[in-house]
């Protein structure tokens, strides 16, 4: 995605996750702030991260940026499972993404699309984000 820095200075390129360089866990919100099986967005140092709380209170995090359309919408997709793996469906054109790996499960010929994912931990009822993985994710320091 190419964007002019002058245009949206407050928003870093969505493909470059902002995680503290020392790989620390950053608190985001209370688990109770997240609805079960319905996404939410966190703003982390200008970057939008989609959070999904599953039925068993596991929380998974992927980029909010939808790679096919460049729109900030991943959190608004329907959460479900495919072959037992937790997935989210892009609300615009309905591509299905594996929430744990970020992989797009509905790619067309040869296309390789994946979402950046973050490690997530819930500590004492508070959701924490760890390091990012995936295309364009900053290498762990």
């Amino acid at each position: 995605m190419t964007r002019s820095p002058a245009l949206i200075a407050a928003t870093p390129d969505a493909a470059t996750p902002a995680v503290s360089p020392d790989d620390a866990w950053l608190p985001v919100c209370a688990l109770a702030d997240l609805a079960v099986e319905r996404g939410a967005v966190a703003l982390m140092d200008g970057e939008q991260v989609a959070l999904f709380r599953l039925l068993d209170d596991t929380v998974l995090a992927v980029q909010q940026h939808e790679p096919h359309t460049q729109a900030m919408v991943m959190s608004r997709g329907i959460v479900g499972t495919r072959g037992g793996r937790p997935v989210v469906t892009s609300p615009l054109y309905k591509q299905v993404f594996d929430l744990a790996s970020g992989e797009c499960l509905d790619t067309t010929k040869g296309e390789r699309v994946a979402l950046v994912t973050w490690q997530v931990e819930v500590r004492d009822g508070v959701v924490h984000l760890g390091s990012a993985h995936g295309p364009g994710a900053r290498a762990a320091a």
Binding site: L7, V73, R76, I78, G84
Partner: protein, 907 residues
């Protein structure tokens, strides 16, 4: 042909510095360094420079096919177009009158011209070809070297040698510019005169009838003057021409056949064309004349190059579209192939594919011209294929003519009375798609059965052989369509179209493609499963019954009880289906508890997501009736929140560009002013469109607005397998276009007629009559039952048209269910509708009253006061629209970008 480097690049090969030096996509040709000569270092696989002279439909197809098939990207193609625009759909030229927008004539994917291996030079005619130096010179003085030269110069309109053919007011009909000039002239004349503009078209062929339609569309009178015995004499026989003449007459176009035009005389007053004199002594006063007597191949470059020219013009090529000069090809109307030039687009496309195949080392040959024609002239269907005139010795004709209904159909059969040689269809060409591929094959059963009107004896099902052509535009056979299903795993029409390209040009073969696909799906057995998805083996209708009978009220219960063994937590297919089922079985708010997790984002935030992730908002305006105060409220809300506004097709107002976090604020204002959700986002009732009816209209026989308001308030919020639209017209003039709706009501002197199963969109369908002359009470009960029965038994995303068509016994069987209670379920259906009416609440008002539900509209879970700052907008025609990727990238150079649409105004 051989395209080895040694043969095509005698200079030892050169890279293409032109393309290498080319700036990125989006720049105009004028900004480019034009001439090229600098030889580059030899490369193992130097790119081939392909120059196409001409920028018409065939050139477009050539480039498309080359880019599609040249996987290695070895060819750089430059298209030199004389017209100042990209290739456009010349076949649809007449539609330029209705839309006036040249963009609407755009062909294919415009991204083709942004491809780095493709260069389009517009508005520069080629003046000379140096076949020794292998260069092409243009009028502006630029030079383009080529390794392969493709002549696709097409034709221009032939101007018959009639005295006065150069008078002002005499036009030809070939390009957008011709059409624009004609329009300008007619509009000018109309403004100057107090009477209608009188137009004549000389030539009663395909183009002449198009031109006559265009004159009518411009509000002019039109007379078609045909030299021959009947209209479209190249395609249809005398009987068909007669039927066509009656149909054209009924559209208000006069027709003179057997008429030779001797001269065109100027008006003494204006000096422009004023009168036609005919050989038989007749005269016709005119203000404008369109010459549509034929086309002439533009072979002047070929002549200048010394290429062989056909007896009636055109550059002579062999079956591979090669001229006698190495590396020079000709395709489309300029090519004289197998002894003639062919003025149809499908053979031109076939030639383009042949040359691409040859350039890539293939051995394709031109399969012979398929001169089959199907067109729709101002609503009149005409089709002709094969030996339409029965000129094969021993052939026999089966004719069915209905002069009253304006239908003429003829099949030409071989002397065995079974083998189809050709045919003509005028007035009703529905049989064309299935009959044309049977050319040269034996028809099963009685041939006459194929000509009878729909609902007649019923023709036998045609089983097409694999090699039968289905889509002549793109040369796709029945076998290819079948293979799309069996080998490439396509399971829907969109997939088959994308895979085979069948039906992507004129679309006339789509019904046949769908039929083949469906049959093949059924045969392969896998896809005929009605299972919703991996989580449910049941179809939507089965699941509906199961949930209703079991009395379940939540997704977790439903998936535990009826899900597959490893049902998991559902998906974007089954969750909205369950939400829809529960909404009528166990009504609850869309955001109540677990229900909130089942909704698509549109139902979840009760607005319509648009391409940039923002939403649009549509308050309900029942029947399209709104007070001035209501309009002011909507206007003020849109203004305060910076929303783009547009009138919808359903007689209401859509406001675009709202962020998710703005929706509650917007709706608080709307709800306070008495508006409620319009459910524009739901698979549910959308609108009940109405005409103004007897309230104001001097023709109206019933209060259509009043009924529309009542129906809309009755069915608002009713969730269904797909969206539902209704319409009510106050008289038989049908201004509400009710028959294009799922349920259409048309007033009669005695009450209401109700039609069902209509829709617009991709496959438009007229609704069919369900019941006549109902009282308002009977009408409402009938619609109640029809809708509820549809909701219970239709498939997911199946509109009423498809449901009615698929329903065993069709509309007659549905009529028996809802009017005669043939299944004994009417009391049940009525009770279900009562439940809907009793439980309806405005879901936006309910959301605003519940802080838990409002949590769904937070921008950021950790920064609820922030909002999405990645959105960018551009002002256009006085409103904001989302910035394109290019505008974002080049911020500052182009139109002014604004960061968001919104002034921070909250209630």
């Amino acid at each position: 042909m051989n395209t080895s480097p040694s043969q095509t690049q005698p200079d030892g090969g050169s890279a293409d510095p032109d393309v290498a030096a080319r700036p990125l996509a989006g720049s105009t040709a004028a900004a480019l360094p034009a001439e090229v000569a600098a030889p580059a270092a030899s490369q193992v696989s130097a790119p081939q420079r392909v120059v196409v002279v001409g920028g018409g439909m065939v050139a477009q197809r050539f480039v498309e096919a080359l880019r599609d098939r040249d996987d290695a990207g070895r060819h750089h193609v430059t298209v030199l177009a004389e017209e100042p625009r990209a290739p456009y759909d010349r076949v649809a030229l007449t539609s330029y009158f209705s839309g006036r927008d040249p963009e609407a004539l755009a062909l294919g994917d415009p991204a083709l011209w942004q491809d780095p291996l493709v260069r389009l030079v517009r508005g520069d005619a080629v003046t000379r070809v140096d076949r020794d130096a292998r260069t092409v010179m243009t009028a502006s003085g630029r030079t383009f070297p080529y390794d392969e030269l493709v002549l696709a110069t097409g034709s221009d309109a032939a101007v018959p040698p009639i005295e006065g053919n150069d008078l002002p007011g005499v036009f030809v009909y070939r390009t957008i510019d011709d059409v624009a000039a004609l329009r300008g002239w007619v509009e000018e004349r109309a403004a100057a005169a107090s009477r209608p503009v009188r137009g004549a078209v000389i030539g009663g062929g395909l183009l002449g009838l198009e031109a006559a339609g265009a004159l009518k569309a411009l509000g002019a009178q039109a007379t078609v003057v045909q030299f021959g015995t009947h209209l479209m004499s190249a395609q249809v026989d005398l009987g068909g021409g007669e039927a066509l003449r009656r149909l054209i007459n009924s559209l208000g176009v006069a027709v003179r056949v057997n008429t030779a035009t001797q001269r065109m005389r100027p008006s003494r007053r204006t000096g422009a064309v004023g009168r036609l004199d005919f050989a038989d002594g007749g005269r016709l006063d005119v203000d404008v004349v369109v010459l549509a007597t034929g086309v002439r191949p533009r072979d002047e470059l070929g002549r200048a190059m010394g290429l062989e020219i056909g007896a009636r013009g055109g550059v002579v090529v062999d079956d591979a579209c090669r001229t006698a000069v190495q590396n020079v090809w000709a395709i489309g109307e300029v090519a004289c192939i197998q002894g003639a030039c062919i003025g149809l687009v499908a053979p031109g496309y076939a030639m383009a594919e042949v040359v691409v195949d040859r350039l890539l080392g293939g051995a394709a040959t031109f399969p012979g011209a398929d001169t089959a024609t199907k067109l729709k002239l101002a609503g009149v269907d005409v089709a002709s294929w094969g030996d339409a005139f029965g000129s094969t010795p021993g052939s026999m004709e089966v004719v069915w003519a209905d002069p009253v209904g304006g239908v003429y159909k003829k099949l030409v059969l071989a002397d065995d009375a079974r083998t189809l040689l050709g045919g003509v269809l005028v007035g009703d060409a529905t049989a064309y798609a299935s009959l044309r591929p049977m050319l040269g094959r034996a028809l099963p059963g009685d041939p006459a059965a194929f000509l009878l009107p729909e609902g007649g004896a019923g023709a036998p099902e045609l089983e097409l052989p694999d090699d039968a052509g289905v889509c002549s535009c793109n040369n796709v056979s029945a076998g290819t369509v079948r293979a799309a299903v069996t080998e490439h795993g396509c399971t829907d029409l969109a997939g088959v179209k994308a895979c085979t390209r069948a039906g992507t040009s004129c679309g006339s073969c789509l019904p046949l493609v769908k039929k083949l696909m469906t049959a093949e799906l059924a045969r392969s057995g896998v896809e005929v499963s009605n299972a919703l998805c991996e989580h449910f083996d049941l179809s939507r209708a089965q699941l509906y019954d199961a949930v209703r009978v079991a009395g379940l009220t939540s997704f977790s219960e439903v998936v535990a009880r009826f899900g597959t063994a490893e049902a998991g937590r559902g998906c974007d297919i089954c969750k909205p289906v369950v939400a829809s089922i529960l909404s009528t079985v166990a009504p609850a708010h869309v955001l109540d508890g677990e229900r909130a997790t089942l909704q698509d984002t549109n139902d979840h935030v009760m607005a319509n997501m648009q391409k940039d992730g923002t939403y649009s908002v549509v308050p309900r305006i029942p029947g399209g009736e709104i007070t001035p105060e209501g309009l002011l409220v909507i206007g003020q809300v849109a203004k305060d929140f910076g929303l783009y506004t547009k009138i919808t097709g359903g007689q209401r107002i859509d406001m675009f560009g709202a962020r998710i976090d703005q929706l509650p604020g917007i709706w608080q204002r709307l709800v306070d002013a008495g508006f409620e959700s319009g459910h524009a986002y739901g698979k549910s009732l959308r609108t009940v469109k109405s005409c103004v009816g007897s309230t104001w209209c001097r023709f109206g026989v019933q209060d259509s607005v009043g009924l529309a308001v009542d129906l809309e308030l009755r069915y608002r919020g009713l969730r269904s397998p797909h969206k539902i639209k209704l319409g009510v017209s106050g008289c038989a003039r049908e201004c509400a276009e009710a028959r294009g709706k799922d349920v259409g009501v048309i007033a009669t002197d005695n009450g209401w007629n109700v039609y069902v199963g209509g829709n617009g969109g991709f496959t438009p369908k007229h609704a069919v009559l369900l019941a006549e002359d109902l009282s308002t009470e009977e009408l409402v009960r009938t619609i109640d039952r029809f809708l509820m029965y549809y909701i219970r038994t239709a498939d997911r995303l199946q509109r009423t048209a498809a449901w009615v068509a698929d329903y065993e016994g069709g509309v007659d069987a549905i009529r028996a269910v809802v009017l005669e209670d043939s299944l004994g379920i009417c009391a049940d259906l009525d009770a279900a509708m009562v439940l809907h009416l009793e439980t309806y609440e405005d879901e936006w008002a309910a959301t605003l009253a519940d802080p838990d539900k409002l949590r769904h509209f937070r921008s950021f879970v950790n920064a609820p006061d922030e909002h999405d700052r990645t959105l960018a907008y551009v002002a256009e025609r006085g409103q904001a629209r989302p910035a394109t990727a290019a505008e974002r990238a080049g911020a500052g150079a182009g139109p002014v970008l604004v960061a968001g649409t919104t002034l921070e105004v909250r209630s």
